[in-house]
């Protein structure tokens, strides 16, 4: 058993304990530290076989075991990955998680850990951040002159592409996939290595020939498997971008909605904060479907718990801390120069508005 310690901007401190490839996570590698003492940790995740402590639990669907502060799911699956998970101390930190992967083909490959990180660990980081009054948003973010611009979208819609285009125009990088919004209305990057799939490869991301070939092969596998096997290539933004800001004030938010409209017209309009908040909540729920299910199950047994109010608390945080400059932009499926130009125009106009 190995232990890896991670500290995300002093907001979430966690430990991964298990096989080396699990504890030494690539996804969280930007936040790896040597050691964090037990009393400082917010989250401890063990990947190992374990004996669940299920006494005095309500049993739902013969699958979930719930009592106050405790959650156990006997078996869950995603594609061919199967796992059981036990979460202790759910409503008061530190949270203890035990995960056991059931035998499957994926288990012997690295990819099972990558999937687990997305299915269980990311949502728990999101949950702990919410407890600490910070909102994790599925968004990319760039900055210029201490002003942050956030791009909210579902996966593959163009968050990363637009951010990289604009970085090419002199903006600094903050984050590509997750952005943290603090009670001080600052945005902080939570930088996980980029998920490069061929559709978001552009000239601002420099990759060598071997990487390019690798991407093409993976894309071929995706097509041959009828879109079942989707292999990403991970590239750490910190290795690519030179101008990186850690933290900035949020200036404007863009919601990107890709559209397959034949005319391919790009439309940009302002929307209210209330509406954006709803968009973000659904984005986050879509991002964490298993976690959302676990919340629902736990709330069923304990309808007055902190957990049951999670999405409401999250919404309130967004409501309190998002700024008013909000645009919805209808974009084509494949991001072109026009999109970047229109966004850049909006950013510059926005600046003029305030000067006047």
């Amino acid at each position: 058993m190995n232990a890896g310690y991670y500290n995300i901007e002093n907001l979430v401190k966690f430990a991964l304990i298990g096989p080396r490839r699990f504890s030494n996570s690539y996804r969280y590698s930007n936040y790896k530290v040597d050691f964090i003492s037990d009393n400082e940790l917010d989250l401890i995740i063990r990947l190992n076989s374990f004996k669940p402590d299920i006494k005095d639990c309500s049993i739902l669907d013969d699958k979930y075991y719930i009592r106050k502060n405790y959650f156990y799911c006997k078996e869950d699956d995603y594609k061919i990955l199967r796992w059981e998970v036990e979460i202790k101390n759910l409503e008061s930190l530190p949270i203890h998680v035990n995960i056991n992967l059931k035998p499957s083909l994926l288990k012997i490959m690295n990819v099972s850990y990558i999937l687990l990180e997305g299915i269980i660990i990311d949502p728990l980081i999101h949950y702990i951040l919410t407890l600490k009054k910070c909102a994790l948003i599925h968004a990319s973010c760039i900055a210029r002159e201490d002003e942050g611009f956030m791009f909210i979208a579902r996966g593959g819609a163009g968050k990363t592409t637009i951010a990289t285009h604009l970085i090419g125009k002199g903006f600094n990088f903050i984050s590509d996939n997750y952005t943290i919004l603090t009670p001080e209305k600052d945005v902080i990057g939570f930088i996980e290595p980029l998920n490069i799939f061929t559709y978001n490869l552009n000239k601002n991301i420099r990759v060598n020939f071997i990487r390019k070939t690798e991407l093409k092969i993976k894309s071929l596998i995706y097509k041959l498997s009828k879109e079942y096997i989707k292999l990403f290539t991970r590239i750490n933004p910190l290795d690519i971008f030179t101008n990186i800001d850690k933290k900035t004030k949020l200036r404007a938010t863009f919601l990107l909605l890709p559209c397959n409209e034949a005319k391919n017209t790009i439309q940009l309009f302002r929307i209210s904060k209330d509406k954006l908040t709803k968009h973000i909540c659904y984005n986050q729920i879509l991002e964490f479907p298993y976690f959302d299910r676990y919340i629902t199950v736990y709330s069923y047994v304990l309808p007055n718990s902190i957990m049951s109010e999670h999405w409401e608390n999250y919404r309130n945080l967004l409501d309190n801390n998002l700024c008013e400059n909000i645009y919805l932009i209808k974009i084509p499926q494949i991001i072109n120069k026009d999109v970047t130009e229109i966004i850049l125009g909006a950013i510059n106009n926005d600046k003029q508005d305030t000067k006047l």
Binding site: D61, P258, C259, K275, Y282, N283, L286, P289, Y300, K330
Partner: protein, 355 residues
């Protein structure tokens, strides 16, 4: 290939027509679930469900996750769950008469394929029925229900809480009538029956004392289906009764039975969570559990249209549950993993005594 057309009429509230290409289908999936509502007359359907190859008209759509095609009142996607994959187009996703096109393709041919094929259809249609009923002021809930002297007693519960077994006990041991062993419909002060999988329930009711089927039982059940005795049912079903009492049932691994009163607010929250689980479950007597697709479709649609009826669905449902349950006594019975006569007696006492 000719199309086989099946009509279902749910209490004259919701009419469903299913058209499918003829094929060998051992389990007759959808038919099995909704057999009680089968109608021999061709109806003007509120939900038209076509199963077969189709060409989607998914132009001018927003794209979510590279997968969901969404525009106002329209949804289309190619989707997969485990090893199964399908393609579905839902016209009038948000309001109006719904037309569903659905096609299924095998990724791998396996012995499970026959069963899972009907499952996916069922798990698309089932949440759609929830949604469409509530549009009309009728609210399906995951609950057992029995009645006596025109008064209904409902038992909301999650899966595995012996709903089927104790409903049988109510009928056999205490002469109650049947409203549903899995779902019932609430409407104002009334409970309407929803005998889902009635044939299966009828088989268990006629041959067994509990809901657990061993392999021989399953073989006998499938064999009995071949005789096509759809209307030959022994269960004493009533169409509707007046809502008298709500009693949540929760299975635990504690050793004793606990009976307690439940707040209106808590009861509503529980019902909402339960309905969410129902709409996102692949739960069935035959197939295992996993995350079902329809709830996700609703969320993808809500992501694009956060002010749509779909997005407001849960908030409105809460209000409606509240209006229905207000003034009705609500209890919760927590009982041990082992269901026996003692547990049934406790439930019966609550129902008969009103505590």
């Amino acid at each position: 290939m000719t199309n086989k057309i099946l009509n279902y009429n749910i209490h004259d509230i919701l009419k469903i027509q299913i058209a499918r290409e003829e094929h060998f289908d051992l389990m007759r999936g959808l038919d099995l679930e909704l057999s009680y509502f089968r109608s021999e007359v061709n109806l003007e359907p509120d939900i038209y469900f076509y199963i077969g190859k189709f060409i989607p008209s998914n132009k001018d759509c927003y794209l979510v996750d590279h997968r969901y095609y969404i525009r106002n009142n329209y949804f289309y996607c190619k989707d997969s769950l485990g090893r199964e994959s399908w393609e579905v187009e839902i016209n009038s996703f948000e309001y109006g008469k719904t037309v569903v096109n659905y096609s299924y393709s095998y990724k791998t041919w396996n012995s499970k394929a026959l069963i899972s094929r009907f499952s996916i259809e069922t798990f698309l249609l089932r949440p759609l029925i929830y949604y469409k009923l509530s549009e009309r002021g009728y609210f399906m809930i995951h609950s057992a229900g029995v009645s006596k002297n025109g008064e209904a007693y409902i038992f909301p519960a999650r899966g595995g809480a012996f709903k089927t077994t104790f409903v049988m006990d109510f009928i056999k041991k205490a002469k109650f009538n049947y409203l549903g062993d899995d779902r019932v419909i609430l409407h104002r002060g009334e409970v309407l029956s929803f005998p889902a999988h009635l044939i299966l329930f009828n088989y268990i009711y006629s041959n067994k004392n509990n809901e657990y089927l061993n392999l021989m039982d399953k073989i006998r059940f499938v064999n009995s289906l071949r005789q096509n005795n759809y209307y030959n049912v022994n269960v004493p079903i009533v169409k509707s009764a007046k809502l008298k009492l709500v009693c949540f049932i929760e299975k635990t691994n504690k050793s004793n039975v606990i009976i307690q009163k439940l707040d209106l607010k808590d009861a509503i929250d529980k019902l909402i969570d339960s309905t969410k689980m129902e709409m996102s479950s692949i739960s069935d007597n035959i197939v295992g559990f996993s995350l079902g697709p329809y709830y996700r479709y609703m969320q993808a649609y809500s992501y694009v249209f956060p002010e749509s009826k779909v997005a407001k669905y849960w908030d409105e449902l809460k209000q409606n549950y509240k209006a229905i349950l207000k003034g009705i006594p609500i209890y919760q019975i927590i009982f041990p993993e082992e269901y026996d006569d003692r547990v049934f007696q406790e439930i019966l006492d609550v129902v008969e005594g009103g505590l």
